[in-house]
Structures are given as C-alpha cells and as structure tokens.
Symmetry: C2
Subunit: 465 residues, 2 copies
Amino acid sequence: MPKGLEHLFNPKSIAVVGVSDKPGKLSGVIMESLAASGFPGTVYPVNPRHTTIGGQRCYQSIEAIGAEIDLAVLAVPASEVVPVLRNAGSTVKSAIVISGGFAESGAKGVAVEKELSEIARKGHLRIIGPNCMGIFDTVSKVDTFFIPGDRIRRPAKGGLSIISQSGSFAATALDELASEGIGVARVISYGNMSDVNESDCLDFLAEDVHTAAVALYIESVADGRRFVEAASRCSSKKPVIAVKVGRRDAGVSAARSHTGALAGRYEAYKAAFRKAGVIELDGYEEFMGGCKAFGRGISARGNRVAIITDGGGVGVNLADLCESAGLDVVPVSEDIRERLVSVFPPYFSIGNPMDLTGSATDDMFADALDAALSGDSFDIVIAAVLWGPPGLTDDLPEMLAQKAMLSGSKPVLVCTPGGDFARGRDAIFRRHGQTVFATPEGAVRAASILARSAGMKARRIKKDG
Amino acid sequence: MPKGLEHLFNPKSIAVVGVSDKPGKLSGVIMESLAASGFPGTVYPVNPRHTTIGGQRCYQSIEAIGAEIDLAVLAVPASEVVPVLRNAGSTVKSAIVISGGFAESGAKGVAVEKELSEIARKGHLRIIGPNCMGIFDTVSKVDTFFIPGDRIRRPAKGGLSIISQSGSFAATALDELASEGIGVARVISYGNMSDVNESDCLDFLAEDVHTAAVALYIESVADGRRFVEAASRCSSKKPVIAVKVGRRDAGVSAARSHTGALAGRYEAYKAAFRKAGVIELDGYEEFMGGCKAFGRGISARGNRVAIITDGGGVGVNLADLCESAGLDVVPVSEDIRERLVSVFPPYFSIGNPMDLTGSATDDMFADALDAALSGDSFDIVIAAVLWGPPGLTDDLPEMLAQKAMLSGSKPVLVCTPGGDFARGRDAIFRRHGQTVFATPEGAVRAASILARSAGMKARRIKKDG
C-alpha cells in the first residue's frame, strides 16, 4: 500500500471539522452519513463556536480532542484550512479537504494550495482534495460525500472502485449505480490533488482485495510517467476503464476552471492509456456502461456476439452497431441452427441476429439463449426484448437469468427499448441479477468494453508468454 | 396527394378481415384499438367462420358487406391474402396486409408477394404491407397496430410523423414517445412494400398539413432516384431525419431475412441522404433524440451551444461531447459575463460551460439560463442538472421552462443524469414542456440533430437565393 494511505482507507477515528448546528450544512450531512453508513470507529465533531452538537460533545479544535486522529475531514472556508492543519500538527494522520476556493479559483488559490501540499510533504500526512467529495467506502464504512441519501443514493458493497477528479461526476455515477442495484468497494473523489493523486489511488486499488475492477474519471494526471506505471500495474491485475475529459479547446479550458487542471494534449493521454492497458471510454454513457458490466463482475473471452431479439428492426440495427463497435456478429453454427430449426416455427429467422418475431414466447427466448450460450460459437450474447408479443411475460427475466447462470461465465446483456412498460420490466431483470440497458446502444457499448478488455488480456498473455 | 392514398389516411369505412372471438388475436386487438382511438367511421368485422363477434354482426366476406370499403385490414394466413383481395374486387379501395410469410420467408413467399403487387397495380387499390403493423394515425384515428395499449402506449396528437419499414421499431418508438408525453400525427409501418413504399409516404407527408417533421426507418428503398426526389421535396418543407439499417455484412443479411430487403451499398444511401437534405441518424438512440426534439416542435438557428450546469465534471464532458459532435462551444460574451459576475458568487465559473457548483440554487440556474438565452450569442442551450445541491428544488423545472418560453424560439435541452431521484424529476420537466434526457450524450445528440437541420436550411436558402 502507498505510504500513509491506510489512514484514509481504514481509519479508526475521524474528526469532522467545521460541524455546524444548522441543518443542511455540509459537515452535518457528513456526520449523518457516517452514522448511516455504520462507521465503527469514533467520530469527533470539531467547531470552536460550539460546545455540543446534537447532544454530542463538540471540540474546540483537533488538538483539543487529546487523541490521535486517523482522518480529519475539513469542511471549513478555504482560508481556515491551512491554519487548522498547522495547529493540529502530528495529531492528524490524514485529511480530506472538502473545501473549494483553491487552485480552481485563480492565483491566490494556487498559492494556498501550494501551502497545503507543503504541509502534506513536511508533516508526512496524506491529504485528499481540496475541492472534492472525499471517500465513499463500503469496506471501511467511511462516507464523506456531503449529499443526503435521498438525493444521491449510496450503493451496497460490491467489487467496483471509482477514482474521480470530479465530485459531482462520482456522486451522479454512485446514484445511478445504487438505483441499478450495483455495488461498489471504494469511491474516491480526489479533486485538486494537493497531495493524493490518481496514481496513489491506482497503487492502492491494485493491491486492494476488495476491488475487482477500477473506473477512472480524469481531467489531468499529476505525472504522466508515474500514471502509466501505476495504471499498468493495476490493469495487470484487474480491468481498468477510464474517461479523460477536457480533450480539445472548450473542454480543456472548462477543466482548468473546474479543478485547476492543465488538461494537456489529448493524444498523449490516448497513448498513455494504450500503453498502460487502460480501456478508454468516451463519456458518461460509456463510463456507466463499463461500471454496470464490471460492477456485476462480468467478463468476456472475446468479441463474438450473438444477437437474440423478437424485434427484427432492432436486430438489424444491433448488427450494424456491433460491427461499428468492432464486435464480430459471426454466423450461427450448424449445430445451433439444426437444434433450433427443429423446435421453432418455420418463419423464425435462425441466424445472427436471431429474430423470434412477434410470435416469440418466454420458452422460445430461453431456448434461443440456451443454444447461443452452448458450445464455443459466441463470447457475448445481447438479448433485445421488445415487449409487444403477448407470449413474452414477466417470467422471462427469471428464465433468461437461469439459462445465463447454468451456462457459466458468458455475459448476457439485455436491452429493453421502449416506454413505461419496458422500464418497469428492467427492475425484474435486475432483481434476477441481469445487466439491463434501456437502448440497443447501451448493450453494445457494454459489449464493446468487455470485448476490448478481453483483447487486452489476450495481448498481455501473448506478450508475457 | 399520391393517387389512392386518401383511402389509407382518411377512410370512412374499415373491414377487419380475420376477426376471431379468441381473446388476444391480432385482429381482435385491432378492433379494440379502433374503438379505443375513437375512429369515427364504420368498422366491419369479417370472418367466414362467425356470424357475430362480440355481439356485432360478422360478415362472411368483404363482398358480403354490400358497401364500398375504403380500407381492408387483413390479418389472415399468407395463403389467404390474395384470394380475399381477388374476391373483394373493386369493392375495396385500399388494404393493409398485416400478415407475414411473404418475401421475407423465401422463394415461395416472393412469388405470392408478386401476386399481391399485381393486384394493387391492376385493381388500382393501394396496399400497405405485407409483414407490417400498418397505420397509427391521430388525425384519421386509424390504429391497426395490433399490440394492446398496456404493452405499447399510444401517443397523443402531435406534429411528428414516422415512416418505418420495421413494425416493432415503430411500435417501440411510439411507446417511448407516449411515455415521454410527445405526440405524433401519422405513423406508418409499411413492411415488405408490395405496393406503397417509403417514397409514396414521403410524398403524402410532404403535403400533409398535420405533419411538421418526418422520421424514417429504412432497410432498403424501392427506387433510389424516386426516393431522392420524394425526400428532397419533403425536406424542403419540413425536417426529415432517417436511420438506415443493414449497413455492412451482418446488418445486410439480417435485413434480408427481416423484410426481404436488399439493403444495397450503404455509401449510396449516405450520398442519397445528403443529396436529398435528409439528416442521417445512427440508430435507435439518435432516432429517439430526433423524434423527441422535432416532436416538441423545436428548431435551432445554428450550432452555437451554451452549457449550464451545477456539475463541473459533467460540464467538461459536455464540452468535449459537443466538440466531437460538430457543435460550437463558443465563449460567453462580455455582456453576459458582466451581467452574471455582479450577481453570482466569485467561485462560480462564468464561462462556457457555466459551472454553478454545488452552491447552485433554482434562482441562480434560472438567471444563468436567462442570460444565455439573451442576445445572439447562442443557438442552443444545454442545461445539465445534477440534483446534489440542496438549493435545487422541484421548482426548478417550471422556472427554467418560464425562462425558455419568454426567450422565444431558442431550444433548451435538459439532461439530468443519475438514479431514481433524477428520473423522478424528469417527469416534472416534461410536465412543463421541457425536452429532457437521462444522459449528457442524449442532450448532445439532440443538439447535434437540431444544428445539422439548421445547417441544411441555411445551405438551401443560400442555394435557392
């Protein structure tokens, strides 16, 4: 583990500095979140203007607590951050600085942020932030994301970890993952990186037994060479996906005013991702597609896709989209064809895509999936369910889930385009552990990410062997 | 209007052939749909095996009705289609053949479909289909889509018309549009085009006063030159968007077994679209994006986009996505900057994107939108609302809608990425007439389509002037 990070990811004691008795204040939300997440250590509220907060003793300062503090969470005005940490001295082992108003806000902020970096270096404490949301961690049960759970739902425990320079991007992804029923391990919003940066986090997550896959959102990296090293180490152990924003003119200047990031030449990032075995994503939709796939622990062995649908037009569109995304819509084998021709009506189109038409039933869909998953013809199955046919019922999700489970490890990606009825069915698919998307494109994006991950693994094995 | 089409789009009498008393049968659903949609003409059930259907007199044949029939809807086995129409003779003015089992199913089907074409030609009646869902029409109140309304919701009356070779694609789009609260005029699923094809429909919709925009889904066109002529005429009067599926190897063969379409060289289609002023779309997501934008009657004057958000990371990503999509993320003018600097906190980033940060309130968001809509700096505004900030409430959708309305015709595209809370807010935005998307990419797709439409208009004016 990188030096000092254990205090951030496994603290026994947390001081929340800047706690107020006014409802809705950031630090108050953090106190509530730590209680709600079941953090097992001790939490100390700190504010010189209060002696009690919600019936609990409130400390005048960190040093007034009189105990070592593994993690100090600072939600105080920018000007108070450096004094608070200076006064605390060696009492504090690590800090998360939520506060904004640093490098992202101009020359004066840059100077204060430099002081913060100095404190980290000289004081040998690790600092996440400033201008960040900090950590949401289902392992250590730390939650410094300062948005109430009714606005941003917290996911359950899972194997996906997220490293994000943007707090709101991370929070939005968290909320969507929670609504999708997908769990996470560690989520780190690191903001302006006065100290801890994306490479520190990658080093940590590479060794973290709770993390099975890593998703990155970056505007800039602190040190290109170190990033390639850290990302390479991590990607040799688990899939790493990344979206780099601030690519061209408008995005670059937007990134500067967002986290003070010097976004740099996009081409250099593309090359670094390639070299480091990182799967590059285009934006929010691909980011969520990758999070949904890897968050469910799915992986594929290659890029051969079978398309099963009851909607011919959507099937043709899926074939196009797959080809554009570099997926291989290979013909069905003779074995599969013979097996299905004997049981299906003559007007079904037993090819790839497999079009079960408006006469489709739950059983037929399940039979087609079973056939596509058998043998070694395909690496990924996309099942596009349109809910028009009366023969398709609410039993279908469970039936498909059972076939997928029996077949072992081949990923089945479901898409159910349409309106309210289709959206209602999504929940049933999810309840049965299925990965479901609202559009054909959603399923193809996830399939493409899985195939690219398989391709990288194959190249790595070839290189190492 | 193209010859004979008035019977299809304004029938006074409809015979539904093949009506059964078994619940769930296609023809029964069509009878129910015609009743539910409030079709004001006479509907005659026809089936030689029944004398009454649901208490209503059932006729042995079309000719037994003893009256002229504007539209016969056939949901009978493929082998019975030609005899039914032959026997009816000149009693029938037009027909929709729902039945499948024609050119899409092999050599024998191709032969029967040829007979059907002959009947249309010699009998001077117009035939839609076979292998289609027919017409859903909020003007004539004809609804032959044979899927019950609980599975596929029917949209209200609106200005968007859809021409689709695929029935399930059209039905799925209808369902999504209905759930989004977007209305339609005429929706035509024309299937195998034994007679009526996409160009006939384009000719009709070009002149149709109820149609303000046209969306096309095609696998193949009957006659390339005629398509370019018809599409050019139509696009000179109203926006025409189109998705062509069956592009490369896998898609082409899939299209053949779907509607018997010879999908042809994709490059030829691209050229035809360009020549005809048709905006080409990539697939389902772009198709829905275009339908949502034009279905709300939105248009833009150019490609200059303003991005307003409270989520910095999503703002940077939006700037990237806009640039990739050919949109121009121009800097904010000095006027707008001065106006906002005086009222906003100093840590807001007043640029493009405009980042209102986690301190955003409803009023600030509305002020920022008002400024972006003022003057002539921008053609389109994308408002990306992340629901973390406590200052953003359920009042925001109405406040933004009011600013958008006051400003006149500039389109405001809202996106609200996230989970259940965000999805719940979508409904409020829609209730206030706003066009809302679940992802940043969704809004950018719609913006790009509007900008391309504006570009085509500008080129046309230049050419004609």
